[in-house]
Symmetry: C2
Subunit: 596 residues, 2 copies
């Protein structure tokens, strides 16, 4: 039996830390209650366990094949997709009138944790489809919505986001794909896209590509970019399929991990007959895509957190059952070996994983709750805070999730390195996450160069207010006073550093202030995750007194210990990072190409 | 054309930093000079380039197959093996009278860098054979040597080291393989071994396994372990093969990387007729094996360094040729994109790699030089220092080499994650190195629990003397005074921490002192590598004045910048590690199994 999730963790986060039941106070969610939430979580767990996890290794070993005509994936992927679609989860967040469940983002994300833990590659198909459908729902015409959405929700059609081009990766403003207006109001698309996940497959009847392109004569740069719907098959208004559109699979790319999701090179308009439909207004393509992209970034964070989490559970299980060696103080070499979980260094590796992956999961769920507060609750501040936090939600799990997987391998030793055990796949799968949907470098510039200063720095003020509320509560508990003090020392340094860098940017010292942005992203990530650990410790301590069983108490004690680990072992690196940032260290900036 | 090595790096390290030519002052090496050294390096580079590198990816994609009867590897591996053997490198370190080249360990290791960079999997076969041959040479009888060594040196036979058992990984004292004396003076071996690299293959006529086993009636624990030669085919004294011995391949293990080297489960004596020959004295098996193991640990360090180095060169090449984005201060979005090496964050990732992999290579070459000083030069102190440093030589490259490979992927972005580019294989290959030949956990206990205190702490005193000599020289150069000061701050902390932990161990606070040993290993690694960077900076600055060309000056300037990066960006983490160590932080030690 695979370990997808310790349901105590999810329950603790949803109902104690993020108070999911209070979401039903929002009118849009008023028909829900804990029973409907738990029902959906149970369904998700069952489908993930029965239809996603069993072929996770098989889809890795037998990656999709392309014979020049057709892509073939293993049959289990299609079966899993169909079960996912049948559950209603593809449209779960949409309103009842659109055929959805009006489910809070928080619960939707909690449901998704099971799929990401079970099989991130196969989960890629529904998650991309959901994101593409959201864009069409938000910005498409009534006709576009009617033509595509019902079939994307039912699982007949899947969706993709086609941004990257062979010569244009992170720098979207340079993209070259062209769109020429046709007489019928549609466009003819021409160009090549690369690294398009799910760009072709044999799972769904049709694929709805959302394609960024530049309309003939449009400005260069980002303002000339528009967004188009480009279906694999031209689709009649009733959803039936007409002829094949002129979008061709030029080839599959062969990834280190995440192998079950096709990664494609797509050629649009090789025969000059690729039909595309403009979404919304011309020139606003990047703005629309960023709606999808921000959701996708949070989704990447969740994927990274859950692959990390899966590895943690696997390595914990191994450590509890593998006898090997003795304690340093055991003088009798013939005594019975202990299970390796008894070794301090193994506990360190497990505790580090726990602090990374549970902290990562917490920040992703926080993001989902902010989506609910903003979108359904109409709280603008929550939207501003979410904007600020998005680079952290994307990048902290993407950096520390793979580190957790690295430690999981190390706990298993030689067994961790072979494909006969599951953790090496986690390590390979998770390595994608610091790259796609904006690399670490992009996230760090987004945070330090832009997000911090939007709305006159209101996002940061909102964040600090929430952090201080947590600290005020925790500081009242004698057991946490020391930890709160240690946290505050680090937070103060982050605040000072932020002010100093902001001042430099205002003075136009752009190169100096941004050159070490990667350090700042990590520092802010630690501050945010550390805050959430204090919050979890505070809630755990409150719950401890009312815990029914030794089991529950042990669970809560673990939260306290992980909080201590994160604050005491991980956060103090902030001091060193701050020294480099505050001194505007030029070591990297001054390095010359020909010195390498 | 693949990038195996920047020969300027090797030349700088060998002839300026480690003064290889002075080795010819040692009588045993007196017939050598720089011409013979360079001749051997050129040969190694040519064979690695022509016969190892071209099938590195192919051997990864087409890993060895076992049909239940026979293992099949791709033909290129055997071809490469034969070229390696024909070059004389298998016996290069042995004396002229034994048919060797009497080559210094330093030059031998430098030659090996090319193979590790080109194809670490295929290089595994000759390197294991060399190590096994060294044990037989050191501890075998004249008959054993005559029977096996000529054929191991010629490439007819390969060698393995068979330690690990399915239930016994790091804890060798618990091993269960049995040896029963037979009437003819040989033994009958019975047991199973796991993770045996090169344990079967179709490359050589015969395989010489060195097997740890316990003679019937011997003590339990490490003192009851003996070492045996167990050939795949019984070998006549003239080297011709007699009947097949009773050692069977139970199965291949399927690794994440290093796929070209078979990893095997071997069954010895399933038919009760597995013949083994005792090496040296009964009960001293572990001591003999540790000779091989210490060499192997240094070899693992070198492999990790070179896989890291290969990834660095690949990512540098990519960064220099990939246009993408613009500088933060470039206001014109339509200006020509710059090559990504111009971005500060990319330079950071390249500079970090450079500092890790060139520092790792330096510490490995230092270890080789210490071998020369000890074995050929008769300098006991060098042997004591080598003993102390071995955990660092093994573990620093094994930890930071994979980190370099992680950064290499990140420099390439999406291209770094696909098998169409070489860096993802580096990342998978290198992940083995923190595991085999003693995990990080084992190395950290070896260093802090044992090596530091041997010979009354003389190793540490010798290390400090060498470090202080470097600092004294560097401090005389105005340009380095600041860096030396920063280094000294860190070194002082390491020394204080060492004293404190030593005191605790003396007082019997074993659990407390050893529980955070992993931090100490990393701290000591940084101190050693930082020292070598100061040494390299010092030598580079001396050479700078005499440099003939702008090219050479740029090369030397890069050494200074990398030294600055390592001391200023990496070393200050020591402060945080020291606080945890000096406070005997109990966070990990106190964590309970049921709290996870």
């Amino acid at each position: 039996m695979a370990h997808l999730m310790n349901n105590k963790d999810l329950e603790f986060l949803l109902y104690q830390v993020f108070e999911a039941e209070k979401l039903t106070d929002i009118a849009h969610y008023q028909d829900h209650d804990r029973t409907t939430f738990d029902g959906i979580l149970n369904t998700a767990e069952r489908i993930a366990t029965d239809y996603f996890e069993p072929h996770n290794a098989k889809a890795d070993e037998h990656e999709p094949q392309f014979d020049g005509e057709k892509v073939t994936t293993i049959a289990e992927v299609k079966d899993a997709w169909q079960h996912f679609a049948n559950s209603g989860l593809l449209s779960a967040r949409h309103s009842f009138e659109d055929g959805g469940m009006q489910l809070p983002a928080l619960i939707h994300m909690a449901a998704n944790t099971y799929f990401m833990s079970a099989n991130p590659s196969t989960a890629g198909y529904p998650f991309l489809t959901t994101a593409a459908a959201n864009v069409i729902h938000a910005f498409g015409t009534a006709e576009q919505k009617a033509t595509f959405l019902p079939h994307m929700f039912s699982g007949r059609f899947s969706g993709t986001m086609a941004l990257t081009e062979p010569d244009v990766g992170s720098s979207l403003g340079d993209l070259n794909t062209k769109a020429s207006p046709a007489d019928d109001g549609s466009y003819r698309i021409k160009g090549q896209k690369m690294f398009i996940s799910g760009g072709d497959q044999d799972i769904t009847e049709n694929i709805v590509h959302l394609v960024l392109a530049r309309i003939e004569g449009a400005d260069k740069g980002v303002k000339g970019i528009s967004l188009f719907i480009v279906p694999k098959f031209i689709t009649n208004p009733d959803g039936s399929l007409a002829n094949r559109n002129d979008v061709q699979l030029a080839g599959l790319l062969h990834k280190m991990g995440y192998r079950g999701t096709t990664s494609t090179v797509l050629s649009f308009g090789e025969k000059d007959s690729c039909v595309g439909y403009l979404i919304g207004e011309a020139g606003k393509g990047l703005m629309y895509m960023f709606k999808m992209m921000n959701e996708a970034r949070i989704g990447v964070g969740l994927g990274a957190a859950m692959i990390g989490y899966r590895g943690y559970l696997e390595s914990l299980d191994y450590a509890r059952n593998r006898p090997q060696g003795r304690k340093p103080t055991e003088k009798d070499p013939l005594s019975k070996p202990v299970n390796i979980v008894e070794h301090a260094d193994v506990r360190r590796m497990l505790l580090a994983q726990k602090s990374y992956v549970e902290g990562s999961l917490a920040v992703c769920l926080l993001a989902a709750r902010l989506v609910d507060e903003q979108e359904a609750g109409g709280n603008e501040d929550s939207g501003i805070l979410l904007d600020l936090l998005t680079p952290v939600v994307k990048s902290f799990p993407s950096y520390y999730g793979p580190r957790a997987n690295d430690l999981a391998i190390q706990v298993l030793g030689g067994s961790g390195y072979i494909r006969e055990y599951p953790v090496e796949q986690c390590y390979r799968d998770n390595r994608l996450n610091p790259i796609h949907e904006g690399t670490h470098g992009i996230q760090s510039l987004d945070l330090l160069g832009r997000k911090l200063w939007q709305h006159n720095g209101k996002g940061l003020k909102l964040l600090m207010a929430r952090i201080h509320a947590t600290l005020a509560s925790a500081a009242q508990k004698e057991e946490l006073a020391g930890l709160v003090g240690e946290y505050q020392t680090q937070l103060k340094t982050v605040q000072e550093t932020t002010l100093l860098l902001g001042g430099a940017l205002q003075k136009g010292q752009v190169d100096e202030a941004l050159s070490n942005a990667a350090l700042y992203l990590d520092m802010m990530g630690k501050a945010v995750i550390g805050w959430l650990w204090i919050e979890m410790a505070d809630k755990a301590l409150t719950a401890f007194g009312q815990a029914d069983s030794a089991d529950d108490q042990a669970f809560l004690a673990g939260k306290l210990q992980a909080a201590q680990y994160f604050v005491r072992w991980e956060m103090p690196e902030i001091q060193h990072q701050a020294r480099l940032l505050q001194s505007f260290d030029r070591t990297c900036l001054d390095m010359k190409n020909d010195w390498f």
